[in-house]
């Protein structure tokens, strides 16, 4: 499997995702500079976390207009899996691959901590190594993770089973107390209609190594490798 990681000015989780992919894939992903529209043929595109363009104007707004993003949108429309994590999720909403927007956290503070997530859509290329209802613990680290969309969009996301992850209690209840940032419906990650684009605020790449305190993020990358190696 061949993966590409899109690197923008201000990306800062690019190396973290590179390490996680290397661990699962067994080979280094292509680190692709945002200014180069010529994206090589790959099986997976990852838009990593960070503060592209310093989060100035709106998180992800300027990176969403990078030369390579047009190509990423094109590939996504042709079915190539695209994973956006944290700032990557913000960029995917700003460029229109995913609906809604990530607003400032309701508590008005940056939050970095491990949180519990309920897997609500295990039937995707990203989540196939989890099962529906499984509770996983991985970190969030963001200032703008408060997912917002209009009522219709939220209903559609929910009805189409496109909410991949929800913030939950350690026992799996989706409650207001378990919601770290005010996100609508406790949304932590959503899919596009074709289910080949996933945007999520939590960082699976940060807990994919026992020495760092957990490996609940690793099945996402292992599952991608299995699915995409089989397809190739």
């Amino acid at each position: 499997m061949k993966a590409a990681v899109i690197v923008s000015p201000g990306s800062n989780c690019d190396r973290d995702i590179q390490v996680a992919l290397r661990q699962s894939v067994g080979a280094d992903p292509v680190m692709h500079w945002h200014g180069d529209p010529d994206l090589p043929g790959v099986d997976l595109i990852v838009v990593p976390g960070g503060f592209s363009y310093g989060d100035y104007l709106r998180a992800g707004a300027m990176a969403a207009h990078s030369p390579v993003i047009r190509e990423v949108v094109d590939r996504a429309n042709r079915g190539v899996p695209v994973l956006g994590i944290c700032n990557g999720f913000q960029i995917l909403t700003e460029c229109g691959l995913l609906p809604g927007v990530l607003m400032r956290n309701a508590g008005l503070k940056f939050i970095c901590r491990d949180i519990d997530l309920r897997v609500d859509a295990a039937n995707t290329v990203f989540t196939r190594s989890y099962v529906d209802g499984q509770i996983i613990r991985i970190p969030i680290a963001h200032n703008e993770g408060n997912y917002f969309a209009d009522e219709d969009t939220l209903n559609r996301l929910d009805g189409d089973n496109r909410i991949a992850f929800r913030y939950c209690s350690p026992r799996g209840e989706v409650t207001a107390e378990a919601n770290p940032n005010g996100a609508a419906l406790n949304i932590a990650g959503i899919l596009n209609e074709k289910r080949n684009v996933l945007g999520m605020m939590p960082h699976p790449e940060r807990l994919a190594d026992d020495a760092l305190g957990g490996t609940d993020g690793r099945p996402m990358f292992d599952g991608l490798v299995e699915a995409l190696a089989a397809a190739a």
Partner: protein, 732 residues
């Protein structure tokens, strides 16, 4: 230009004697630009004129020290061809004026100091001191400083992994924000600041220059016109996005062979960077100021040279490398300008509009900078306070006292702070904030750096020598408690007005104690920063020599522990001597409302012996958890270990020769707590080392149970411990 009046000299902070020396060096009266350059180079901040005499007494050498004080940051060898580069620096006054930007630019400055030398920064720490929680400004300052530190570090993608936060009324009008950065470089790719190569291009990179933070801006001068408010911003604004680009661009260029010398533009910007680079290299520098990228119109040479705009660097390149370097900086969308050349004149020559506007001999500017051995008075000793006297009028049970202490401002959980810092980015944070020291893996290896910051100002004020010893010893202990071998420190000396003999006495005393501890513990000082005049209306801050310590864990999988209990049915063993010293303890301050007595004595031989023993136990895999004893003493340490691991404990009867409260809360030094499956094995490991060990309890359950029958559920203790700071910050 002439007409330098005594008023202008005074406004530049130079004494008449110092100004006479300027004239002697120049051979004539300086013009305003030249005066400005002398003034910043001879300021306390750049020249260390009050502190240099004392700083020379600190040990700075060890076999593993690659570069001690004097460069942008200190460098130590950590094996496998890697070097650790680190430094701590204060940004106290700007943070009091504008907490968010002051703290943010403090972080930005220390990051540049480290990556200037070729290191990728891998961790940020910060040592913060605020005024009394009751002071009307404190809440606003805490919120702003924490947001500013997070705002900068998070955006840069460098984890902020720990530090310390204290509250004391002496900081009401003068908070301390000491930021530390630790980076890792290859030992054969370390960059220094000495300019070399006559004719080599001098290059300016980074942000454009504006009128930020210009010193002496209060002076009446025809150089400024009427709309002075618009022209004289006193607050520097940080741009972490630009700094991130500058970091990546510098590291990309450093991977090539193009750089001869590099220096960041920190305080006094273009002036100090160019003077230091040329002085170290014994060369001259000539600039055409018309080529400096500026973001405001009509900037004068004075303003350009004294601006403290952030996110800028000065480099000397090898000839012919300009185009390649420019391409890298343009890729990262940064300014790049060749603004001058290295010359053989040993003079700083500045041109503007085709004319020479400044011409200063560099060596005398640096070598003849004033150095003072200011008068000083030794701090008089505080009366001894016995445990019995200290406990007079205090009748709480140990359990109640513990609850009170765990919910006090100085001991409560700092989670509210460190959850606003991205402490995990870069994927190597092996021990997160909240323990004794943060532990960061050296990327791609199993080796790790342990990092801590420590200082107990209430000890330093009572006895500066003992306080200086204790600050170094505690840093050494905190590193040891993770299993690390402590290697070196950076010091951030925060004191009041050095022109007052009693303040200078505090400085001298702290240095004396630090030097003793550094020598005894093989823990040299490799970098540092001095911040003086920290006082408002004649009231000085507590003397605060903040120590940033770095150590090395050989293997995180086998030679490291953290502080939380990991299992039930293990023995809890106290290592080190307990006398029940309550003088200057947090217990006495919090429960007796008294800040009296002498601080606990530091026995450096015992520190060394007990610490080496603990490290060997961790290395042998004999212990499952380890915690150093400091503020709050034994019972607080047990509670912290229990909360960190969510495992309770049942505690033994205290010995009868010490009052129980003194046993539980005394702050005797050189002590550690460990948990072990087998106390027998541990005791036999003591052999003939004569390390005092004592089994004081057993892990298990979800409650802390005292031998007197009192008990506290961990959930209750956890909530009082966790709640104080968020509740305090939420109140308005």
């Amino acid at each position: 230009m002439s007409g330098i009046t005594p008023e202008i000299v005074a406004e530049h902070g130079l004494t008449p004697d110092e100004y006479d020396r300027v004239i002697a060096i120049m051979g004539h009266e300086p013009n305003l630009t030249e005066l400005g350059i002398f003034s910043v180079m001879w300021s306390e901040h750049c020249s260390y004129k009050s502190s240099k005499f004392w700083l020379k007494k600190l040990p700075t050498e060890a076999p593993w020290v690659i570069c001690g004080p004097g460069e942008n940051a200190g460098v130590i060898d950590i094996g496998d061809g890697k070097a650790c580069i680190f430094k701590m620096e204060s940004h106290n006054h700007p943070s009091f004026i504008e907490p968010y930007q002051g703290a943010a630019t403090g972080v930005g400055g220390i990051l540049r100091d480290v990556f200037t030398m070729g290191a990728r920064p891998v961790a940020n720490m910060n040592a913060l001191r605020f005024g009394s929680p009751d002071h009307p400004k404190t809440r606003h300052l805490v919120g702003g400083v924490v947001a500013g530190i997070g705002g900068y570090g998070n955006s840069m993608g460098i984890p902020t992994v720990g530090g310390e936060t204290n509250f004391d009324p002496s900081y009401n009008g003068n908070i301390l924000v000491n930021a530390m950065t630790v980076g890792v470089a290859d030992t054969d790719k370390i960059f220094y600041s000495a300019a070399a190569g006559i004719g080599n291009p001098v290059v300016y990179v980074g942000s454009k220059t504006g009128r930020d933070g210009i010193h002496g801006a209060t002076m009446a001068s025809a150089e400024f016109d009427n709309d002075s408010d618009e022209k004289r911003p006193t607050v520097q604004v940080g741009d972490p996005f630009t700094e991130k680009l500058l970091l990546e661009a510098c590291l990309e260029l450093m991977a090539t062979d193009a750089i001869v010398a590099i220096q960041d533009m920190g305080a006094a910007g273009l002036t100090s960077s160019s003077v230091e680079m040329s002085d170290k290299g014994g060369v001259g520098i000539e600039f055409d100021l018309d080529l400096v990228p500026v973001r405001e119109d009509a900037m004068t040479p004075y303003e350009i040279m004294l601006s403290e705009s952030q996110e800028r660097m000065l480099m000397v390149l090898k000839p012919g490398c300009e185009d390649m370097a420019q391409a890298i900086f343009e890729k990262w969308e940064l300014d790049f300008a060749v603004i001058g050349r290295v010359t053989d004149s040993n003079r700083l020559v500045l041109k503007s509009g085709g004319e020479v506007v400044c011409n200063i001999p560099i060596s005398p500017l640096v070598a003849e900078a004033p150095e003072y051995e200011r008068p000083w008075e030794r701090t008089p000793p505080s009366p001894f306070l016995s445990a019995a006297d200290a406990l007079e009028g205090i009748d709480q049970s140990p359990a109640d006292a513990l609850s009170a202490l765990m919910a006090s401002p100085d001991l409560c959980s700092r989670r509210w702070i460190w959850e606003q810092y991205d402490h995990m980015v870069m994927g190597d944070t092996v021990q997160r904030p909240g323990g004794d020291a943060a532990v960061i893996r050296v990327h791609g290896t199993d080796r790790s750096l342990a990092i801590t910051t420590d200082c107990t100002p209430r000890y330093c004020v009572a006895d500066p020598v003992e306080g200086g010893r204790q600050a170094v010893a505690e840093a050494w202990r905190n590193l040891t408690a993770t299993g690390a071998k402590p290697l070196a420190i950076t010091d951030n000396m925060n004191f009041g007005n050095p022109e007052r003999p009693e303040i200078m006495g505090q400085f001298a005393g702290c240095i004396e104690g630090m030097a003793e501890a550094c020598l005894a513990l093989d823990f040299p000082v490799v970098s540092g920063n001095v911040s003086l005049y920290n006082e408002t209306s004649g009231t000085s801050i507590l003397p605060t020599p903040a120590i940033g310590g770095v150590g090395l864990v050989e293997d995180v999988n086998t030679k490291m522990v953290s502080s939380g209990f990991t299992a039930a049915d293990e023995d809890i063993v106290l290592i080190g001597e307990t006398a029940g010293h309550l003088g200057r303890s947090l217990f006495l301050r919090q429960l007796g409302d008294r800040d009296e007595g002498q601080p606990p004595p530091v026995d450096l031989a015992a520190e060394r012996r007990n610490g080496d023993f603990v490290r060997s136990l961790i290395g042998m895999g004999s212990v499952t958890a380890c915690h150093d004893l400091s503020d709050g003493g034994l019972l607080v340490a047990i509670a912290e270990m229990a909360l960190a691991g969510s495992v309770g404990a049942e505690l033994c009867e205290p010995p009868t020769d010490i009052p129980p409260l003194a046993w539980w809360f005394g702050e005797d030094q050189a002590r550690y707590l460990v948990a072990t499956p087998s106390a027998e094995a541990l005791v036999s490991a003591v052999g003939h080392t004569s390390v005092p060990v004592c089994v004081i309890g057993r892990t298990g359950g979800t409650v802390l149970t005292m031998a007197d029958g009192n008990s506290i559920p961990l959930s209750d203790l956890g909530s009082v411990h966790e709640n104080w700071l968020p509740h305090y910050m939420a109140a308005s």
